[in-house]
């Protein structure tokens, strides 16, 4: 097992290196001069040149690449052109907000998805089952920004239950992690976006759980459990659902990687100060170091979560072993 993990990690490093190279080239081949978004066209030409030199963009592509790789090995992603700060610190500032929103959305989606999916499979063919499927698919296919705007209109503006925008009230003081994230003000701001995001992500766990349950339900041990005279509920959640969870877990691990990107629109609609907004801005403003850093880190997270999914799988299902 350990050998397997080590092998996978090795492959991961090589993959990451290839991805980093691709990302590096992608941004360099993007049309337009990065200084275009940084300086006003009215500033003198020499000023633009000086700026290019400051960021090392006047060097040949090969030299730029060498520097990029040397820095990358030391996990130094450079300074953001716009923020004048190390990329890792810019990302570090924004990552918690994104992660918390993502995890709460995941909690909503997986709690509702797993329980609902199991229930739906059990009551296959009932009208409530089709309501559930339709409901989740509507939220999956409706544009998230639209759902978000509607939710703000109804629950914030009309009913006044939740704040409409941001992560905390205007002028809120507090700087440590606990002051920022562990208090009622923050939770009130968190509820609406995480429900909207949760409903968006709901279809995946719900449908996977339902299908997986349907398979499990035809297994002999379910028949056995029933024969023992256990209650419906006990058979459903204790025997069937636990075994049906496997594919949902895999999907969940992959979800974390994908959600950072998938959450961008939610962050925009709710003015959530997360990483998603930063990615979009970095790309549109040609802030190479920041954009590169974010994409490399997201790829790393994706790959790592893939590995985690595989390992967890082995723990959950004794039939699976890795060599």
């Amino acid at each position: 097992m350990l050998f397997y993990i080590a092998k996978r990690l090795m492959v991961m490093v090589i993959m990451l290196f290839l991805i980093a190279t691709m990302i590096f080239l992608m941004f360099r081949t993007m049309p337009g001069d990065p200084t275009a978004s940084m300086v006003d066209p009215s500033i003198p030409r020499e000023a633009r040149q000086a700026l290019l030199e400051r960021y090392g963009l006047h060097e040949s592509l090969w030299t730029q690449y060498q520097i990029f790789v040397q820095d990358l090995v030391r996990l130094d992603f450079g300074n953001s052109f716009f923020y004048n700060r190390p990329v890792l610190r810019v990302i570090g500032d924004r990552l918690p907000a994104t992660l918390i929103l993502m995890l709460s959305a995941m909690l909503v989606a997986y709690l509702a998805g797993v329980l609902g999916g199991a229930w739906m499979a059990w009551h296959r063919g009932s009208p409530l089952e089709s309501v559930g499927v339709t409901f989740s698919l509507i939220f999956r296919s409706a544009p998230t920004f639209w759902v978000g705007l509607m939710a703000i209109m109804v629950f914030s503006v009309a009913l006044g239950w939740f704040p409409a925008q941001g992560m905390r009230s205007t002028g809120y003081t507090g700087d440590t992690f606990f002051e920022i994230f562990v208090n009622r003000d923050f939770l009130r701001h968190l509820i609406l976006p995480s429900i909207v995001a949760g409903f968006y992500f709901l279809a995946t766990p719900l449908l996977i759980m339902r299908n997986s349950m349907l398979e499990v339900m035809s297994e002999d041990y379910i028949e056995m459990a029933r024969a023992k005279g256990l209650t419906e509920r006990r058979v459903l959640y204790h025997h069937a659902a636990r075994n049906a969870l496997l594919p949902v877990v895999t999907a969940g691990a992959l979800f974390i990687g994908a959600a950072i990107g998938g959450q961008v629109l939610i962050e925009v609609v709710f003015s959530w100060p997360g990483l998603g907004r930063e990615i979009v801005q970095a790309v549109t403003r040609s802030d190479y170091p920041l954009a590169q850093g974010v994409f490399i880190i997201i790829s790393a997270i994706m790959m790592f979560m893939n590995l985690v999914a595989d390992v967890v799988y082995a723990f959950l299902d004794p039939r699976i072993t890795y060599r």
Binding site: G32, S42, N84, G171, R277
Partner: protein, 550 residues
């Protein structure tokens, strides 16, 4: 037989006139005409970046097709467009772009000299129309050196007359800056053209209407990125930094230079200006503001080749302290905008902090210390910048501070406006939101006051005056009749803006410098365009294609 002959002749004539339906001189053979007008490309904005420019380029292509000129409208990414316009090759025919109406552009130097003088028609400079006119150049130079304002205005007015007649570019429209604030909470707001509500003055003079809410929340839909004045590159960074840092001169709401951190200036010679510093000012950390700080700040700006203010500090040859209260600026040549643009822009930074930071552009400046009317309290990227009133400031400020709150979308701001979480907005409302606030369904926006300020910036069709057919002034004038200015303003901008016209660079919003007596070509009249072209010797060949005069 004779009748038959006449009939045939008539038929042949009819057929011929159908072929050369575009009029012109059908009696001249194609090979005797001038060279055909080359096929042209207009680099327009992408529809998502600027829909009005995009549509107007498409319209122009259609209009030109009707008079026998092929123009391909090619939507182009903004940064790519800048690469082309400012690149070495200068390889383009026409384009759409705009100049934003920043406050420093109220001074006519930018829109007269920088974008029209033939010295700047070289690669990388701002005269991207490559306009070159000797008579105009003399005026453009003269206005820059004329230190007397009235005399300078006279020159600027004459320069505008030439531009209107020569049409180096065709201005399409200017946007109106429509913004809003909560009139139930604050009063005495200042609305400035090119700046809107969150200008330098509103925070200084606005008054809270109740004692419970004395810190206005200013909404922005664009992030602030940098609090280091030597590295800040966006207008949005500056709108805040200029309230934290102070400047020697500020432009009054009537756009006249007003002594600020200076108590006055004396023009010793055309190239020598002495500025007297106000006594008793302190930085937010309690240290006094001295001539030393002023000299050091200007010197540092001058030494930075790529600074945001490079165009304004370049004309300074040297800066030095004359005595404990006076700073002497020596200019390389007489430079009239020195007081209105240079002295009103350069922020004074505390030397005792900055001289120890190494490369000033790389310093993070996480907690800015200035001598302006507002003290920095905290900044959370993507969320808010909080300031409080600097009580030792020489000018009495009514509000106790302000919060610059950052939103990700204008829709978010609108819902917070409705919920009364926002007091002032700092960007131009989109037409849909203006209409929503105006309609005020259910009284949801009754607490808001809509304000409108005309913009001194403008969007235009750029023409490469070095290339046929745009090197022909008659063609450029004819072209002004092919642009539907009303369509741009009334349909595409829903009326929120002002009309453009040929060669219009200083519009009526800039009251002092705009020459109201200049006739501007600003009518849409394709027939007239045709007439003008024919008069100027343009012809249409047998394929209906427009040809240059011989």
């Amino acid at each position: 037989m004779g009748k038959m002959h006449i009939f045939r002749m008539a038929l042949a004539c009819l057929a011929l006139s159908l072929v050369v339906s575009c009029g012109g001189r059908a009696d001249v053979a194609d090979e005797d005409m001038g060279a055909p007008v080359p096929n042209l490309v207009i680099l327009s904005s992408l529809p998502e970046a600027n829909r009005v420019n995009y549509e107007m380029a498409q319209e122009l292509a259609e209009e030109l097709a009707k008079i026998g000129v092929t123009l391909e409208a090619r939507p182009t990414d903004f940064s790519v467009l800048l690469d082309v316009l400012y690149g070495e090759d200068m390889d383009y025919d026409a384009y759409t772009i705009g100049w934003s109406g920043r406050v420093e552009r109220l001074d006519p130097d930018m829109f007269i000299h920088s974008i029209n003088h033939s010295d700047n028609a070289v690669a990388g400079a701002n005269n991207t129309s490559r306009f070159s006119n000797a008579e105009f150049d003399i005026l453009a130079d003269a206005q820059r050196q004329e230190m007397d304002v009235e005399a300078r205005r006279e020159i600027v007015w004459r320069a505008q007359r030439i531009l209107a007649e020569e049409v180096p570019r065709i201005t399409l429209y200017s946007r109106a800056n429509v913004q809003t604030y909560d009139k139930t909470r604050f009063t005495n707001m200042v609305n400035m053209s090119g700046e809107g509500l969150f200008n330098e003055w509103s925070p200084l003079v606005m008054e809270p209407l109740s004692q419970d809410h004395t810190v206005p929340v200013v909404a922005s839909n664009i992030n602030i990125t940098n609090l280091n004045p030597f590295a800040a590159r966006s207008v949005y960074d500056w709108r805040n930094l200029r309230l934290i840092y102070d400047k020697l001169v500020r432009l009054s709401p009537q756009v006249e230079p007003e002594p600020w951190a200076a108590t006055g200036w004396e023009i010793v010679e055309d190239t020598v200006v002495d500025v007297t510093i106000r006594e008793g000012m302190t930085f937010h950390d309690g240290k006094p503001v001295t001539v030393d700080d002023v000299v050091w700040s200007y010197q540092t700006w001058m030494d930075l080749p790529d600074s945001y203010f490079a165009s304004f500090t370049n004309p300074i040859e040297s800066v030095e302290a004359r005595d404990g209260q006076t700073v002497r600026f020596v200019l390389e040549a007489p430079y009239a905008p020195f007081i209105t643009t240079t002295l009103t822009q350069i922020p004074i930074v505390p030397r005792h902090i900055w001289e120890n930071v190494g490369d000033v552009t790389q310093y993070e400046n996480a907690r800015p210390v200035g001598s302006g009317p507002f003290k920095f309290v905290r900044f959370r990227p993507g969320e808010e910048l909080v300031t409080e009133r600097f009580d030792d400031y020489f000018f009495p400020v009514n509000i106790e501070g302000y919060i610059f709150k950052i939103y990700a979308s204008p829709e978010g701001v609108l819902s917070d406006l409705e919920l009364k979480n926002v007091d002032v907005i700092s960007y131009d409302l989109i037409p849909a939101h203006i209409n929503q606030i105006k309609n005020n369904e259910g009284g949801r926006f009754s607490h808001l006051e809509l304000t409108e300020a005309p913009d001194i910036g403008f969007f235009y069709i750029g023409l490469n005056n070095n290339r046929p057919p745009f090197n022909n002034a008659d063609f450029r004038r004819a072209l002004t009749y092919l642009v539907d200015y009303d369509y741009a303003l009334d349909v595409l901008l829903e009326g929120y803006g002002s009309r453009g016209g040929g060669g219009l660079v200083i519009n009526a919003a800039n009251e002092f410098w705009h020459n109201p007596e200049v006739p501007i070509y600003d009518t849409y009249d394709p027939e007239k365009a045709r007439e003008l072209l024919a008069e100027a010797g343009f012809t249409w060949d047998s394929n209906g294609r427009l040809r240059m005069p011989r």
